[in-house]
């Protein structure tokens, strides 16, 4: 079942088109940076971007930071929102369930396929970022500077980059859980995607609002940028652990809700 869902996901041209579009932005930014040699002013622009001109080895992170606020969540919401509602809209859901695929199994398989998409997407963005950084910028893989101004060995930098990639993937899992939950509620994949994006936009908006500060620690996007904390020295675990726990709770609750809804739902599509 899981293999079937993975095959469906990765044999779909749209999946790769989404990943390609996602990579276009960081590549464009890199080319513009090289052509104009204008780094963003300190404190502005995505994290790590201003540091890239001096060390191209940071470009995988800059690329993630570029796509993290908008493009990556949109891509994840599109794919996860499509997972159940897309099958419902195409009518294939009724054949899968009458096969019988088993509703719980199908949901788990969908989740794992979405998870695989998140991981592949994040890794591809980081990988393309690495290639772009190495070819367009002066890469200094031997030395890395932490955000706190200490030196990091290439090995430390590599480990921390992997941790950060993992953290971004977990953050996206929360988006996927929202979209998957909405996907079981509606037969319209667009509706499910929009629902998940509405949650994210609301969350980002509330985060900037002082009046919403009492609920700020529970907003799903609250700790997204904490992946930067892996590059402070020593690593600042405070927001990272909170971010992981928060995503864990969201994923758990939403998947339970998705499961409860999907297993008792009348499939009339």
């Amino acid at each position: 079942m899981i293999a079937v869902e993975l095959r469906k996901m990765f044999r779909r041209p749209r999946t790769w088109a989404t990943i390609a579009v996602l990579n276009a932005l960081p590549v464009l930014v890199a080319v513009l940076l090289v052509v104009t040699d204008l780094a963003p002013r300190p404190g502005e622009g995505p994290p790590f971007l201003s540091a890239v001109l001096s060390n191209g080895a940071l470009y995988p992170l800059a690329a993630l930071a570029i796509v993290l606020p908008l493009f990556l969540p949109i891509a994840v919401a599109v794919i996860a929102g499509d997972s159940v509602a897309g099958e419902a809209q195409a009518g294939t859901l009724r054949y899968l369930l009458a096969r019988p695929a088993g509703r719980t199994r199908l949901l788990v398989a969908k989740l794992i396929a979405v998870l695989a998409f998140v991981l592949v997407t994040v890794l591809v963005v980081a990988g393309v970022g690495y290639v772009v950084g190495a070819t367009l910028f002066e890469a200094q893989p031997a030395v890395g500077t932490s955000v706190s101004g200490t030196s990091l060995t290439a090995q430390e930098l590599g480990v921390r980059t992997l941790l950060a990639i993992g953290y971004v993937a977990v953050s996206m899992l929360g988006v996927a859980a929202f979209a998957l939950f909405f996907s079981t509620l509606t037969d319209s994949p667009l509706g499910a995607t929009m629902g998940a994006l509405a949650v994210l936009v609301t969350s980002s908006l509330l985060f900037t609002l002082d009046a919403a500060s009492p609920i700020a620690p529970y907003l799903p996007t609250r700790y997204w940028l904490a992946f930067v904390d892996f590059f402070r020295d020593p690593i600042l675990w405070r927001d990272i652990t909170r971010g992981l726990a928060l995503q864990g709770v969201y994923v758990g609750v939403l998947l339970a809700a998705a499961w409860a809804n999907f297993t008792t739902k009348d499939v009339t599509s």
């Binding site: 079942m1 293999a3 079937v4 095959r7 469906k8 044999r11 779909r12 041209p13 195409a90 009518g91 294939t92 009724r94 054949y95 899968l96 369930l97 009458a98 096969r99 019988p100 695929a101 088993g102 008792t264 009348d266 499939v267 009339t268």
Partner: protein, 306 residues
């Protein structure tokens, strides 16, 4: 004969609407069961309940000896289904669609998958379709592919919802031949349709659904059994009435209905009176007449309330 589909007091309510209102289906091994009903009569909801897609509000469903929806994992692999038109992944080929569907559930060994797919494609007449993606298929080809998906595991029971939809006359004949062929091989067929002619030509048993209720369920032969009257075709209907005084119940042009279940006796009387007889047959009701008598007005007709 053992029961293949049995429902008892099956009810499905959507809000205040009772889509299916207490039906007791009885489909037995070896039947070609015609499930007749107009659009909106609750046919599709019933089919979906049989397959575990829609959960009944109350009542019981037994499918191949298992209680649905609980036994779905055990019994559904032995059922082939075509539900409200075919549905496929448009970017994949027909062969890949079948392989994915087969791999998505239990009871379809991957060792035999290739061979089974070749066989069913041959059976439905898509053997030469190649690697074309399904989105390039015609409606008829998709219907055939849907049927192929239903046949993939040599099911004991076929549940088919409007299987000839979108097919041309030759296609319809082919599908009919295929179903009769499968039936001879021991497959029970549950055919849901709104086409009287299709059911009349194919089915051995008929159930008629009207506004969520099963108003009729019987052998087709019993439903269309002789009425005890004889139909006489004659150029001189008036003389028939004069000769068989009191036994003529209806005259319609040259068609005269005469009481009496023995056409030979009627014929002898008419011939002895020198009346020309062009044709003579036992009167049987058509399925259409039976269905119309059992159901009321059309379900999509909306009359003004007094």
């Amino acid at each position: 004969m053992t029961a293949v589909i049995t429902t008892r007091g099956l009810v499905k309510r959507f809000g205040r609407l009772r889509a299916v209102d207490g039906i007791d289906l009885d489909v037995r091994t070896g039947d070609i069961y015609g499930f007749l009903g107009a659009n909106g009569s609750g046919k599709t909801t019933t089919v979906r309940m049989l397959l575990g897609l829609v959960l009944p509000t109350s009542g019981e469903i037994e499918l191949l000896g298992g209680r649905m929806p609980r036994a779905g994992r055990r019994v559904l692999p032995r059922v082939g289904a075509l539900i409200e038109g075919p549905a496929h992944y448009g970017h994949l080929s027909g062969r890949e669609n079948l392989a994915l569907l087969d791999a998505a559930g239990p009871g379809g060994s991957w060792r035999t998958r290739r061979r089974r797919i070749d066989e069913v494609l041959e059976q439905v007449g898509l053997a030469g379709v190649g690697r074309r993606p399904v989105k390039a298929y015609s409606l008829g080809m998709r219907q055939r592919l849907g049927l192929a998906g239903a046949l993939l595991r040599r099911p004991e029971l076929l549940v088919l919802d409007e299987p000839t939809n979108g097919l041309d006359p030759q296609g319809i004949t082919e599908v009919r031949e295929l179903l009769l062929d499968l039936h001879r091989g021991g497959t029970t067929v549950f055919l849901s349709s709104h086409l009287l002619a299709e059911v009349e030509q194919l089915c051995s048993r008929v159930g008629v659904l009207d506004r969520g209720r099963l108003v009729l369920q019987d052998e087709l032969a019993t439903l269309t059994a002789p009425t005890g009257a004889t139909v006489v075709h004659t150029p001189t209907p008036d003389r028939v009435r004069a000769t068989l005084d009191g036994r003529v119940t209806a005259v319609d042009g040259q068609r005269v209905v005469v009481l009496g279940a023995d056409p030979a006796e009627v014929n002898a009387r008419l011939v002895s009176a020198g009346i020309a007889v062009n044709g003579l047959a036992l009167e049987r009701p058509t399925l259409e007449e039976v269905v119309l008598a059992a159901t009321g007005t059309s379900t999509d007709r909306v009359d003004a309330r007094p």
